[in-house]
Amino acid sequence: MDFFTNLSDKIGKKLEKGRPFHFLYSTYDAIDSFLLTPKEITTNGSHIRDAVDMKRIMITVMIALFPALLFGMWNVGHQHFLSIGEDATIWQSFGYGFLKWLPLVIVTYGSGLLVEAIFAQVRGHQIAEGFFVTGFLIPMIMPPDVPLWIVSVATIFAVLFGKEVFGGTGYNFLNPALLARAFVFFAYPSVISGDAVWISQSADVISGATPLSLVMNGSTSVLPSNWSLFIGTIPGSFGETSKIAILLGAILLIYTQVASWKIMISVIIGGLLTGTIFHATGACPILGWQHLLLGGFLFGAVFMATDPVTATHTQSGKYIYGFLIGAIAIVIRVLNKGYPEGMMLAILLMNIFAPLIDYCVIQLNIRHRKKRILRKKN
């Protein structure tokens, strides 16, 4: 261990300011802090610091994503073999899905980190960890057969225009992973919408419609049972199908206090309420709670809406933010059938409104405090 530490220090010295290879410092710093815990100690202020840092938060989110991912890998293979009518063991299915996922994730990390690294070099700041989760999320919300170059273009677009334009991780107001998906959705609609894309290399005779699109087309009779919707043995992207795996992740996120339970709960309440109202008025054939089992609603609620950078940061603002995401997602689903996946658009929309909600909450707090001061004076 000392060997590594010393080696790293030596390299670090070579790249200090003024040395010819200083331009590589941010890359070095990224690798160094990736492999070894940082050597910085507190200088002023509190002498002890919490052990948690950004890297730890990011890895926690990734661990929370694992159940959904593992299930997704199996399911992609399972759906594939199901559609071509072959029997396959669990491991065959899983292996198939894994081989579908691997190139996606390599391409995502490759192109995303490249952009991040270039900008970190040019601007001379550190390469932030934020992209680790983004790059992990992007393959999970794409169809399994999406062409790799499209993933690459979408990732570059999302990192460039979702993040770097605004100054990098922490300054962005749109969720970059969702932006990548939205980019594909609008730029290459044929690879991400329609019935053909959600099963990997399916035979032609089988319609691979996701349950969500079945509902939106009014054919609720062929809907899979609620149980298989909950378990997740339905066509879809890697991450979104298994509700139970997502819930496992949600429990971890809430317990470790990485993601806000307030947002998750209020998204679900918003969705339930709106879904029930639409069902009661007859605008939508399925029950309110069934919306939660369809499409990416739950995945978005747990992993996307709670992104700490793009969500509201005031506590009461989180309830409003979450509720509106849930409500708008269902409204888009039910009323605009051109866009069945309303969750993505709802979250992106509310990302834009999050600062406004925060502003209102802060103004309320100011008013409240002013009143209290006046009361004291009297």
């Binding site: 100690i41 509190s46 002890i48 840092d53 730890r56 300054y171 206090q257 002013k370």
Partner: protein, 202 residues
């Protein structure tokens, strides 16, 4: 310390005199052996005051007029390979992201009241931009939105600072925020700068 306790002394007493009979190093290294066998005398930080707000002293510093407490904790900065991936059974964290919450007794040592053994001065991460996790609000007791106030101080928006209640707080109030901040912000310094700005513009 080997023998924590109260000592009555004069203002300006030499720290080394006070510590003469206390073998801090051996105490630390015994307790710490499992983490850091190489703990040496220079790797102990003496703090005038408590760990949250106190000032760092050298071993031969004199105690100050206002100081009534001297704290000694181990310096951090040891480097572990891929530390952010390890379960972290002995890392103290306010959140539950490390598995140390499975083993809470390590944080309180009833034997001699020296609770700071597990803590050290590592920053435990790099400086980042504000990530709006809920931690500030959990450790901040006033009806003030700490993050907004910090941001107002950073942007030197005096009017906003006043409205958000800068007059009701002191930099020490933000010590806990600073401790738990995953972005490793120097909250106390930010507030101090904000107060300073007010003072100069008043």
């Amino acid at each position: 310390m080997e023998q924590p306790g109260y000592i009555s002394t004069i203002y300006g007493a030499d720290l080394s005199e006070i510590l003469k009979n206390n073998n801090v190093v051996s105490h630390f290294s015994r307790r710490h052996r499992r983490h850091d066998a190489t703990l040496r005398a220079e790797n102990i930080r003496y703090i005038a005051g408590n760990v949250l707000t106190g000032k760092q002293m050298t071993q031969f510093n004199a105690t100050h007029f206002y100081d009534s407490q001297v704290t000694a904790i181990a310096e951090g900065g040891e480097r572990k390979i891929i530390g952010w991936l390890l379960p972290g059974l002995r890392k103290w964290s306010f959140s539950h992201t490390y598995l140390s919450w499975l083993y809470p007794s390590q944080f309180t040592n009833k034997e001699n009241n020296s609770n700071f053994l597990i803590y050290n001065t590592s920053l435990n991460g790099g400086r980042r931009t504000f990530m709006m996790t809920d931690v500030y609000d959990k450790v901040f007791p006033f009806s003030i939105i700490p993050l907004s106030l910090l941001k107002a101080c950073l942007t030197q928006d005096i009017e906003q600072m006043e409205e958000l209640g800068i007059y009701e707080v002191d930099d020490e109030d933000f010590a806990l925020c600073e401790v738990v901040c995953p972005s490793k912000m120097e909250c106390q310094q930010i507030i101090r700068d904000g107060l300073f700005l007010l003072y100069h513009n008043a």
